[in-house]
Symmetry: none
Subunit: 225 residues, 2 copies
Amino acid sequence: MKILLVEDEKQFANSIKEYIEKENYVVEIAYDFWEAKEKIELSNYDCILLDIMLPSGSGLDLIPDIHEFQPKCGIIVITAKNTIDDRVIGLELGADDYITKPFHLAELNARIKAVLRRRFFDGKKVINFNEIQIDIDNREIFVNQNKIDLTKREYEIFMFLFNNKNRLITKDAIIEYVWGDDSNNFDNFDFIYTHIKNLRKKLINSGCKDYIQSIYGLGYKFNEI
Amino acid sequence: MKILLVEDEKQFANSIKEYIEKENYVVEIAYDFWEAKEKIELSNYDCILLDIMLPSGSGLDLIPDIHEFQPKCGIIVITAKNTIDDRVIGLELGADDYITKPFHLAELNARIKAVLRRRFFDGKKVINFNEIQIDIDNREIFVNQNKIDLTKREYEIFMFLFNNKNRLITKDAIIEYVWGDDSNNFDNFDFIYTHIKNLRKKLINSGCKDYIQSIYGLGYKFNEI
DNA sequence: AAAAAACTTCATAATTTATTTAGATTTATA
DNA sequence: TATAAATCTAAATAAATTATGAAGTTTTTT
């Protein structure tokens, strides 16, 4: 899953990024208000970590934008203990959770996990969908109880499509989502084709229906039916 | 849907074009006032992006022309922050929205979507018309809940006729609308006949009434009744 | 450092869509 | 009704997109 971290202190931001990347999230950092705004409008995130004290504006002002452009996305507000605002505590501004600096990375991680679980998986740890079972915490996918080994990229692509059932996902969106900031390096879709092919093969070989539909000229779609 | 971008800075114009073409709009650029005026009077657009600072005149002076020749067309004014005029902000000049440079492409895109939705679809995301349902965002058309797969061209032609119910649409207009600047390459209507035929067949096969009437020697019309 | 796994690139094949062609049908007009 | 022009249709060809297997890199694991 993909996370945006909005935080102006570079060193602090990087250490958070490093930590949560180890937890297998794709992480991007926006170092100021406007960079964050652009990313929110252009890219897809599943959770946004929002420091509200930014040099160029309050992170809180990004919340309406997040709701508009990414209604499914979770929001965790990062705030210093002394600047904390009652509205944040009450989460009246539309965030899912907040955490006060300083905090332990493991705590942040736990909260991200909880928010994502609530937002995307109905609070469950294991998702059931027809013949498919997904163990979120372990990033494992089963077809009729038989585990299939997906690589990181395959898993990310699968989950992106799965979490957007019946919606057209363009190849550009997939690249953006899975490769994050590195997505500019690509000038063709060959590797997408390959990953999709391998992903499909693994699923189908385990007796899974082919839910992934190619939409000519546009992208892919996970068909619920 | 088709968009005209009136903007003299070539590079800027091209990057906008590239971006919104990815969103499946047909895009034409007019690089100066008079080129814009000609296009507005001759062609069909659903939305016009109007930079008001043009070397050959103010884009605002094109607005009456747009109203006269294309009453359904949306207008979004592009303006530099410092040259902004109160009348623009109040939209008293007849625009639907405005955006100040610099802006994010995603923001422009969101505004285009909103203006088109307001102008053409009554603000709705899904259109219902007798047995037809149209999911604008996903570019999907259903007949009595059964999805019919239209190709890009078929979809564009269908929407053009649909959005101009009971009005005669000439074959030239269709070519102009769907193929944009490339429309000069065609010297006969054979391919239109084919696309219309295939479109009709898909619709009728799904149990849809044949709303598309041929008007001999002139073009086609989407009959509401 | 070697081996294994994962990722990307490349060449080629398969598929889907777009356009052209040619013949059949319909319409307008005389 | 005869004729020409316009339109419709299906089939053939061309163009664009996607799928595939294999080769070459890079990254990770041992």
